[in-house]
Subunit: 255 residues, 2 copies
């Protein structure tokens, strides 16, 4: 039974896309069947996995016409990893989607028929709490929240938690928080250590044990359209995301 996980945080640039690309690739390296759905108009998850951003078949067509997702799967360099790409048509989609009755349920209804094809379905969200992110939260079993150890990141998290509670109450009572992931962590700064302490006090055991360090290779690999494990498997970035995949797969076995 496929588990749907959205990677969400309305704060921009906290590592949502970097996390989905490299977590999905690490799971696929462990022979798990994974689907990535790119719900961000920037289409960074699409290009980061080596798929052109201008494909005609994108999540936009599915959201507007309810075209079955199975017709939109695109293969990647990893055998068990597929993606439903995004493109810039998605920029105007929010104003179009709200014209539909029950617009909040469209992604959930698109995923339902293909849920059992995969072990994990990971959804990348844009940096906002708008229509696209709401659709992803309604469609998901769990939310993974990447957080930078910086002040502005800490500030916005209460709005995200309020939105998750609201979605759970009105549309999706199974929605849980899979975990909070610390990203771009630089152990050498006081700021990072202080914010980390703050996050640990606030989120307790929701904070995942794996911490993603700042690692330049993670910034380089998207320009080659490759996840980090196909770009530089020996890097600290690759090691961290492989550990993240192991931790998440272990946690899933227990529940």
């Amino acid at each position: 039974m496929g588990k749907v996980v959205c990677i969400a945080n309305q704060k921009g640039g906290v590592g949502k896309t970097t996390t989905i690309i490299n977590l999905a690739a690490s799971m696929a390296a462990a022979e798990r069947k994974v689907l990535v759905i790119d719900m961000d108009p920037q289409a960074n998850a699409t290009s980061g996995l080596g798929i052109p951003r201008n494909t005609r078949n994108s999540i936009y067509r599915a959201l507007i016409s309810m075209k079955p997702l199975v017709e939109l799967f695109v293969s990647t360099e990893l055998e068990t990893l597929k993606i439903v790409p995004s493109n810039k048509d998605l920029i105007g989609a929010e104003l179009e989607l709200i014209e539909f009755k029950n617009w909040q349920l469209r992604l959930r209804d698109l995923i339902e028929p293909i849920k059992n094809y995969f072990e994990f379905i990971l959804v990348d969200c844009p940096p906002s709490l708008g229509v696209l992110t709401l659709n992803a939260l309604v469609a998901s079993d769990a939310v993974l929240v990447p957080m930078q150890c910086e002040y502005f990141s800490l500030e916005g998290v209460s709005d995200l938690l309020d939105t998750i509670r609201r979605i759970r109450a009105n549309y999706n009572n199974r929605l849980e928080i899979m975990g909070v992931l610390l990203t771009m962590y630089d152990d050498r700064t006081n700021l990072a250590r202080q914010v980390r302490e703050n996050i640990n006090t606030h989120f307790k055991d929701l904070v995942l044990k794996t911490v993603i360090p700042r690692n330049i290779k993670l910034g380089e690999c998207p320009s080659f359209g490759k996840p980090i494990l196909l770009y530089d498997i020996k890097s600290k970035g690759a090691e961290a995301y492989l550990n993240l995949a192991k931790e998440i797969l272990r946690n899933e076995k227990k529940s």
Copy 2:
């Protein structure tokens, strides 16, 4: 005559808010009258200037009820710097705003009566090309585009330029690009140097001479609600933003 400048880039986390706070403060330190308008639901510019995010009087009330902006000015620690704050009411504003006829013109019409009170009116935008950013572009004389020297940043800039062209053609023919500002620049990495070369080839003399280096003090000062020049005037971050203010004020004199 006040010049309205919006700080926009739909890519998240590129330094939009850090730029508006520190550019505004540096201009105010040079005794220029400046107004900051926070159009981001995250309200980071509001808290970064030491104003509580939960103020009842926010840009949301003005956008929805056309309450005159002059009634919403809040003072900051710098005498000639005022702000119209944001709060989380703005999260749902996009769906409410589009119910109004000519929703694209609301911020422009709010700014018109107070334009001459200030030399510069700086508008912070959320990381998207949605209703709030479109309102800001329609209301502006110029756009300042912060860019990180990373691959994903480069990828999204063509969508931003398309949107600027569309706004110029349909709503605001005076909208120009004030410049592209390189932020969080780390001279030691190949990635940053390569992307910088790419940006210089693409944007030529639109790229501002001042480059903002990565500087931990810029990450620390928001937690004290102070711009960098009131937190650590000797830091590289403070020096860079003071230089940026000088460069922009010099360019404005020439035009």
